[in-house]
């Protein structure tokens, strides 16, 4: 099992969700996050004061899938989230040792 952690533009979330759904993947956890990669941020001005906003709003989508699905899911996210501009985000992969479905007690891949 692998956890796919995709940090994407908030405005691409809907598209990512739809494309994953057409793959049959509906289970996911989404968090609103702020972060910085290569994007420079921007300046906000309030009367005489200036603040550089470096951390920009992103969403983090976490999905745990069977190892055989990882490449396909990653490619789907890339297709849905990519604009080609700086700030499209990143995808991280994390090995998962086990999982439990709390309702039934199933373990491992059947719990996904």
């Amino acid at each position: 099992m692998t956890k796919i952690e995709a940090i994407v533009r908030p405005e691409r979330l809907e598209e990512v969700q739809q494309e994953l759904e057409s793959l049959g993947i509906t289970g996911m956890t989404v968090t609103e996050v702020r972060g910085a990669g290569r994007q420079a941020g921007y300046v906000e001005r309030y009367r005489g004061l200036e603040y550089r906003v470096r951390l920009l709003p992103k969403v983090k989508v976490e999905i745990v899938v069977a190892d055989g699905l990882v490449e396909q899911v990653a490619q789907t996210i890339i297709n849905a989230a990519r604009t080609g501009e700086v700030g499209d985000g990143k995808i991280f992969f994390i090995q998962i040792s086990d999982a439990i479905r709390i309702r039934t007690g199933e373990r491992g891949e059947p719990a996904l």
Binding site: E44, R45, Y46, R47, G48, L49, Y51
Partner: protein
């Protein structure tokens, strides 16, 4: 004996009212004027919660309630203080420097009879309560200078003392019978003339603005200023507050005619025009200088324009209002930019907007005042208007009013603040400041969403 007294007390009270009613006459009271002034009083009161939202949106979310409370509680404290002492101290008697104690508790301030010195066609008590609304918002304006770090208890003490020792005397100089600033000279026709301040450019805006600067300097900067992020928590609230201020200002300025007449209409029109022009001017200046037109800039510009037109509203025409609006927008924008360079922390720019805007408005009144409007508003039949109408003396009167207000308000406020600081302290503890004043002083949070 005691029992008789207690038993006869209700009868005495009833008699008092009956006596009052028996003396009630319609002599000289205009229902139209009275209706307008009742409405104006409510409009001016509404400015203070408007100010609470205007300021409340500009602070950090951990201090939103304490900032709103500064304005809100002024409605409590000053409303009572004004009835008990304030009105009498500002408007009683005919001395040149300060009122007297003849109207303590509004005693003798009739709800039926007019006081011809202040408003010949409305009940005296209506004039008194209308003036009370000005007394409420003025110290509330100051709170922008020390927002996010002021101890609430010492704020209450400051509120009372400042109102009695700074506001009431200046109000008397400018508006009270015999006040020295309103009687600086005479016209050839024998009319008494002096500094023109229609609705409080000196009394309200310069006095509060300069006090905010003094307070900001004495209390010191907020922890982490400048450098730490201190973005406004909710500019939508600030915009709503600005709208309420603009709306209420019609009562502030047009109500200052103390009648529903042409002078009020003039004040209404120039108020709206100057606010609009100043919002545009600030926006244009900011757009040019910094590249983006901000909503906070447009709102600040509108308030600067309203401040600028306040002393002039009864005396200038709509074109004068446009000139005042342009000046207010550009000058106040420059002042708030300067603040960042000078390094003092007048947190919500009370000095930059109210003292600078008020000074500009007071001086501009001396430039643009139109003789016929001055004659209508002051009753002086040969009033010469301002400098541009060929009356340079008026400009000197205006400058006198500005300097006197700045010096008096700054000196007395500084003394008050030093004393309060020595006795109970002005500022919260650093831990309280870091935690936010809402939790540490009031035991509440503004946003539990």
């Amino acid at each position: 004996m005691r029992r008789t007294l207690i038993r006869s007390l209700p009868i005495a009270v009833v008699l008092f009212f009956i006596e009052g009613i028996a003396f009630a006459q319609d002599g000289g009271i205009s229902r139209g004027d009275t209706a307008w002034m009742l409405a104006s009083s409510a409009l001016v009161l509404f400015m203070t919660p408007g100010l609470a939202l205007f300021y409340g949106g500009m602070v950090r979310s951990k201090n939103v309630l304490t900032t709103i409370m500064h304005s809100f509680i002024a409605m409590g404290v000053i409303s009572v203080l004004w009835v008990l002492v304030g009105y009498s101290l500002a408007f009683g008697g005919d001395s040149s420097l300060i009122g007297n104690l003849e109207w303590l508790g509004f005693n003798g301030v009739s709800v039926f009879e007019p006081n011809p010195d202040y408003g010949a066609t409305i009940p005296h008590q209506l004039y008194a309560v209308y003036q009370g609304m000005f007394a409420i918002i003025t110290p509330a304006l100051i709170t922008g200078g020390f927002a996010e770090r002021k101890k609430f208890s010492s704020y209450l003490v400051f509120l009372i003392l400042w109102s009695l020792l700074v506001y009431c005397p200046i109000a008397h100089w400018v508006w009270g019978k015999g006040g020295w600033l309103r009687s600086l000279g005479t016209t050839t026709g024998g009319g008494t003339v002096g500094a023109l301040d229609f609705a409080g450019g000196t009394v309200v805006h310069i006095s509060s603005g300069i006090t905010a600067l003094v307070a900001a300097l004495i209390i010191g900067r907020r922890r982490g200023y400048p450098g730490e992020e201190m973005r406004p928590n909710n500019l939508t609230m600030t915009m709503l507050g600005t709208g309420i201020l603009w709306f209420g200002w019609f009562g502030f300025n047009a109500g200052s005619a103390v009648a529903a007449n042409g002078v009020a209409v003039n004040a209404f029109v120039v108020t709206n025009t100057a606010a609009a022009m100043a919002a545009l001017a600030w926006m244009a200046a900011e757009w040019t200088y910094r590249g983006k037109p901000t909503t906070l800039g447009a709102a600040s510009g509108a308030v600067a324009g309203l401040v600028g037109i306040t002393p002039a509203a009864g005396f200038v025409n709509p074109l004068g209002a446009i000139a005042i609006g342009i000046g207010a927008g550009v000058l106040c924008y420059s002042a708030v930019i300067m603040k960042t360079k000078l390094g003092y922390d007048d947190s919500l720019d009370t000095f930059g907007v109210h003292a600078v805007g008020g000074t500009w408005g007071a001086l501009a009144t001396g430039l643009f005042a139109v003789p016929v409007l001055c004659q209508a508003a002051t009753g002086v039949k040969d009033h010469g208007g301002g400098l541009l109408a060929g009356n340079p003396q008026q400009f000197l009167f205006q400058a006198t009013g500005v300097v006197a207000t700045i010096v008096y308000a700054a000196v007395v406020s500084a003394i008050l603040l030093f004393i309060i600081n020595a006795v109970i302290g002005l500022r919260v503890k650093s831990g309280e400041e870091d935690a936010g004043l809402d939790v540490s002083l009031h035991g509440e949070e503004g946003y539990i969403l």
